[in-house]
Every structure is written in structure tokens, then in C-alpha cells.
Symmetry: C2
Subunit: 416 residues, 2 copies
């Protein structure tokens, strides 16, 4: 008997029939004597639908009001799941983020969780109830609704699990675990039974899309054992099988790790690249360029500054593609004139491909093997960035699939 | 310059194009120097859609969870309207019911407003902002979301207007005022420029459907001048014309009232009739029957108790048709055995038709004129109830339209 948090994605919650299946699965875990907290996403398509309404009104809707709108999808989900659990004889109660005081900062549409009040939840769990909490959202100090950004329900689930000191956080999703790369792209992609926290962080941040990156950070900070597993199996699958399925994010690097050099190939199709030309090469210039971008709450990923020529340099960085227009505006309005840059150009059709693996630390030659493979396919590398456990390259969007397939094969990832 | 509350119904909010029109209309009033609070309904069809999902899961969903779900429709509306106002250069801010502390009792799906905290709203208005508040919902003492029942946004608007001591509450809707009866049923129906509070109360409670009855009660209790007017006119219609359009609910009976005996014909198609047979005729029996029904939060409307024969009597009452099944269950489970009734039968296909008018007080013969008219059309009267300003009859549902048309003509309502 333990406290377990379940998270279900939008596809798993996509219809009332599927919600009934979620209820059966949750009930099975509760029947086994566990205390269960569930964090469901909005029904698939719903958040896009309502945000689409806002976009019909204006191109740049107010983030505070967007959050008011976007938060409703999860609120419908928690109510429906509570009703589905009650219909099969379970006691269940739903809460919106503000009702269990999921406090966040003020960064509307991409807020960060600061604290969670567990009093109500503990009381309900001790009374035998299944507690259902909206993912994706919280409330700031002023009492305004905030949302955590796409995939935020994963973060909510792990944060709730950490606050409640749960034994494990189970992320039920429409894939059955973390793969060496996206199986939709590479049919030989192979499921990993465990990955390290650091690998998962790189896989998620680089666009594997299985888990939102902040959820992995939370899992790491609180050492919350988090498992990604399928919600598409029979909901009455024996619990002892289900409990060991999927991919566990591990915090013990040398325990049962597979010993491959490279764990997987991650990618992110939706990148955009911006270059600021003719920048004076003086201390503080990077901050003058990126400060206003960060203030506009735009995440910057890869950054390159060229060797300067005659006291001038070029400065290139990448942002998520959906922030591209906003970033270009910020640069035009708040940066270009101030730093006397000679020009700004951008390219919104670039993608990032990365090889990831903790084994890379002790193996030389990974980078050269990667670059040779891309070269043999005739793919030009536009930017490179590296960390201890990953190497990323930025390439033309149209070569992304080719690059992923070639690298997956070159590193022999189809074989365990 | 005054504080004015606007309420817009689901049809007026039915698409982003319509929401933009609402924004234009609100902006016009704000431009004229007024402080404006807006209470919009959910987009038409939205509340039905999401409650339909709950019904797909179970026939009798938990009211607390239904409210969690149902409250989301208005939350989307307030966010979209704020965005539409901002897009045309207005400062606007939206709040859900709990954010401005619209405190209600615990009667989920039909809660009553107890109090509203006006501090945030006044502060925003004084800062020049247009404030948008979700209709239909509030929060109880435990912090659970409650809803006020169908049409509850009208009540929210009037309650907000009363709490803020607004000069007038304007209920914009898809009809251009209160008519002598439903114009969809009787083409000769005529718009009334004023009605008394009491007439409106009867018209609303009897199913005219222009305003929710509790909103009229609120308007009456707080003497809040409330105007029903069209949202389908050009949003840029000159304000001085719009401000005098529609139908004003008046609290000065003898001011400019039209002096007809009968003001209108109200009706309610969705009634259900329940008869408890063979009830011992002793004190307290009505309470023993209706107490459990009221405890189940079912509204009882017409009540008849027959003359007793040999110490036994029959007891008949009506409930809203959508509460019929629940009421029959309550009677079967909690009443029949206890009071030793010999049987319970019901008929869910009955309708109520009423003639309403303050002029009735001083005119005899209204009842006989009504009954003769129905008799001439061959319509059987199943139940009768009367008040100072109305006479209602319950008839077979299939004769409802015929009865309304015949009575409208018989009382000459097509002529001013």
C-alpha cells in the first residue's frame, strides 16, 4: 500500500469511453490498496480548439486571458473522471489548481509551480477517496489563473507527487515508454526499460515529446521515481505486470542501465534561428541582445557568437518556432537600435537533431561519428552545441527525418 | 456617467464574430463615460455539449462534479470577451466567480448567491478597466465551485449590479424585449415597453424564458432597474436610442404602465405531474410528501389536495420535467411506504399556460373568460392555480400552442 500519482494525457482522456477506461485502471490500483491521486490532461484537441477561438479574435491575445480560457479544458476532464469513478462505485473528488493552492509565478502561459498545499488532498485520501487534480494550471499570488505551457500536466503530476511524497508517479500516455527515437520516424526504434534522469532531461528538452522537460526537472530535483507507460493496454491488465511496464526514469546511474554509448536520437522539428549581424564585440552585448528576449518570456536554446572581425561580431540563437515572430519584434523594437546592429535575419524552417547518452562521457569519437554520418547523407550542419551527455546539431528542416534515421542506424540503436 | 452592468446571453456570445460585436457594444458604452461590468453566458450550445459528456458516462452524475464541468463554459466566454475588448484598445480584465468571491449556498447545480465581494471590481473600474465576470457560477464556503442553474447568468448580472449599486442592469438577449407571449408561437405578440416587477416575476416563473426567475427576484429585492433588450441590433446603434429600447422592469406600478387588464400569456411546456393516491388525510401529510422532494432540491410548482373521502385523499403536484424521474424515485424510496399511500402515478407530458397582469386585481371575470376560451377550443383543464396577478392552468402538452394562441386573441393582446 502506497501513495501513487497517475497522470493521463489528452489522448487517454479523448472520449467518454476512454475516460471510463481510465476510471477502470485507476480503480484497479485503488482496489489493490493504494492511495491514488490522478492528474488528467484536457480531452485531446480541446485546448487547441479554445485557444483557436482566441486566435480568431486577435493574433496576440493577452496571456492572462489566454490562461483563463486554456485552464477550462482540464477542469472538464477532472469532473468527467470523478463522475466516471463514482459510476463504478468509487468515492472521488475533483479539484482545480486554485482549489488545492497550486501556487505559481506570474509567467502566464508558461508559469512555474512554487508550492502545493496538500492538506485537502491528504484528508480526502485518508477518507478513502480518489483525488483528481487539474493538470497544466495553478494560481499566482494575485489569485489569477496561470497555466504551465504545453505538456504542463506532466509537470503538475510530478509536482503533486513530490508534494505528497508519493512512492511513484505514473505517466500514462499513448506511447508505451521512451524509445531510442520516435518510432513514427524510425520503425526500428526500440523501447528503453530505464533511462537516467539526465538522459531523459536531454531527450525531453530536445523534443522527444514523451514528457515535458519541467516534469523531468521536477522529478530530478525531488528524486521522484517517474514511469512512462501506456494507457492503451487493457485497463484490467494485471497490476503486477502494469507496474513494471513502460520506461522508468532512474536516479541510480549504474544500477541496471543498459551499457550502450548512445541511448537515443532526439529531435525538435519546430525551431527557428535568428542572427543579429554587425554587433559590437564588447562585454555585456550578449545580455543586451538576450535580456529583452528573456524578459518577453521567450526561451532561447542554442547560442553561437562568431569570432569578431574588426571589432564586430555576429550573434546567432534559436527559439521555439511559435515564438519566432515575437522574438523578431522584440529585437526590432528593443534591441537593434540600442546596440547599433547592422541587421537581423531569421530562418523559421530549421530543426534540431541530437544524440544523447550517459555512456558518451567515457567514449571518444561520438561527435566525429555523428558528423561523418550527416556528411555522408549530404546534410549541412548550421549550428552545433554539446553537453556532457549530448551533441546537438541544427539543420535544414527538410533533412530532419533523414538525419534521425541515418544516426539511429549509425549508432546501432535498433539492437539491444 | 454611471456604473452599468451588461449581460449577454449564449446566442450573443455564440461565435467569435458575435463576441467582437459584443465588444464593440460594450466599448460604445464605455466611450460614453460609463463604468461597465459585463456578465456573459457560455457560448450557445457549449454548456449542453459538456453536460452531455457527463450524461454519456452516467445517468445521474454527481452534482458537485457537474458544476466543476458546467462552470467552464462561462470561463471561456469571459476570457474571449476580454481579449476582444483589448483588441479594440480597451483595458479589460476577466474574473471567474470564485475570484470575486461570488459566495453561494451548497445547492450544487442550483445554488443561490449569498454575497459578492466588490473590492477588486471597484478597484479595476476606478482604474478605467472594463470588468468581465463569469455568469452562472460561484463558490461555496468549502471553496467548491457551484452553479446557479439554467439562466443563472441573468441572476449573476443582477446580483453583481445590486452589489455594485449599479444604475441599471441591461440584459442583452436574442429577443428585443418582453412580449405579450412568445412571438415564435403567436405572430401577433406585441413588445411591452415596461412591465412591473410582479408581472415579470410571473412571466419568468411561468416560462416566458426571457429572464431567469431568480434574477427578477434579485431585481425586485434590490429594486435594481433591469432592462431586457436586443443584442442583435447594430452594435454601433446610437447609445441614446439603445438605452431606451427593449423592456424595462419597473418598480413604480402606476407610473407609465399600460392599462390593460392582462399583460401577457406565459407558458411552460416542460412540466410533469405526479399524483399520490390514497393518502391518509391528516395534519402534516403534505409536508411528509413534499419535504423529501424539497430536500432533493426539486422545485414543486402547482399543488392540489382533493377533498378527502373516507379519511383518504389524493395529492397532486407538478415538478420541472427534467426532475420527474428523480421525484418519482424519492417518492418510491422515501415516501410511499411511510405514509401508506396506495399508489403513485405521473404524467410527464403536461404544460402550463397562464394569463398574467397587475390589472387583474381590479377586474372580475378574467378567470371565467379564460376558462370559457379553453372550453371553446375543447381543451381539458387538469389543474388550476391562481395568484393576485395570474391564473395558471395545467393542460395536455399537445394543446399548449393552441391554448396560448386562443388566449392571446381572446384578451386582445395584439392591440396596444
Amino acid at each position: 500500500m502506497a501513495l501513487i500519482v497517475h497522470k493521463y494525457g489528452g489522448t487517454s482522456m479523448g472520449s467518454t469511453e476512454r475516460i471510463k477506461n481510465v476510471a477502470k485502471r485507476v480503480a484497479k490500483w485503488h482496489d489493490a490498496g493504494h492511495q491514488i491521486v490522478v492528474v488528467p490532461s484536457a480531452m485531446s484537441g480541446e485546448t487547441n480548439r479554445i485557444l483557436g477561438l482566441a486566435k480568431e479574435i486577435t493574433d496576440q491575445p493577452d496571456p492572462r486571458e489566454l490562461d483563463v480560457i486554456a485552464a477550462t479544458g482540464e477542469q472538464v476532464s477532472v469532473g468527467l473522471l470523478a463522475i466516471a469513478l463514482q459510476a463504478i462505485g468509487k468515492q472521488a473528488v475533483s479539484y482545480a489548481g486554485w482549489q488545492v493552492a497550486i501556487k505559481t509565478d506570474d509567467a502566464h502561459t508558461k508559469a512555474r509551480i512554487a508550492s502545493i498545499d496538500d492538506v485537502k488532498v491528504k484528508r480526502d485520501l485518508d477518507a478513502g477517496k480518489i483525488v483528481i487534480i487539474t493538470g497544466f494550471q495553478g494560481v499566482n499570488e494575485q489569485g489569477d489563473i496561470t497555466t504551465l505551457g504545453r505538456g504542463g500536466s506532466d509537470t503538475s503530476a510530478v509536482a503533486v507527487a513530490a508534494a505528497l511524497k508519493a512512492q511513484e508517479c505514473l505517466i500514462f500516455t499513448d506511447v508505451d515508454g521512451v524509445y531510442t527515437t520516435d518510432p513514427r520516424l524510425v520503425t526500428e526504434a526500440r523501447r528503453l526499460s530505464t533511462v537516467t534522469f539526465e538522459e531523459m532531461l536531454e531527450m525531453a528538452s530536445l523534443g522527444s515529446k514523451v514528457l515535458q522537460i519541467r516534469s523531468v526537472e521536477f522529478a530530478g530535483n525531488y528524486k521522484m521515481p517517474t514511469r512512462v507507460l501506456s494507457s492503451l493496454t487493457d485497463p484490467l491488465l494485471p497490476l503486477e505486470i502494469e507496474a513494471k511496464s513502460g520506461t522508468l526514469i532512474s536516479f541510480e546511474e549504474d544500477s541496471n542501465m543498459e551499457q550502450a554509448t548512445i541511448t537515443g536520437i532526439a529531435f525538435n522539428r519546430d525551431e527557428a534561428k535568428i542572427t543579429v549581424f554587425g554587433v559590437p564585440d564588447r562585454p555585456g552585448i550578449a545580455y543586451q541582445i538576450l535580456g529583452p528576449v528573456a524578459d518577453a518570456n521567450i526561451e532561447v536554446d542554442m547560442i553561437i557568437q562568431n569570432q569578431s572581425v574588426e571589432g564586430k561580431t555576429d550573434f546567432t540563437f534559436t527559439v521555439p518556432r511559435n515564438e519566432y515572430t515575437k522574438a523578431m519584434q522584440v529585437l526590432a523594437n528593443d534591441v537593434q537600435a540600442q546596440i547599433h546592429a547592422t541587421g537581423i535575419i531569421g530562418d523559421a524552417k530549421v530543426s534540431k537533431v541530437s544524440v544523447v547518452g550517459v555512456g558518451m562521457r567515457s567514449h571518444v569519437g561520438v561527435a566525429s561519428h555523428m558528423f561523418r554520418t550527416l556528411s555522408e547523407e549530404g546534410i549541412n550542419i548550421q549550428m552545433i552545441s554539446t553537453s556532457e551527455i549530448k551533441i546537438s546539431v541544427l539543420i535544414d528542416e527538410k533533412y530532419m527525418e533523414l538525419a534521425v534515421r541515418a544516426l539511429h542506424k549509425a549508432f546501432g540503436l535498433e539492437n539491444p
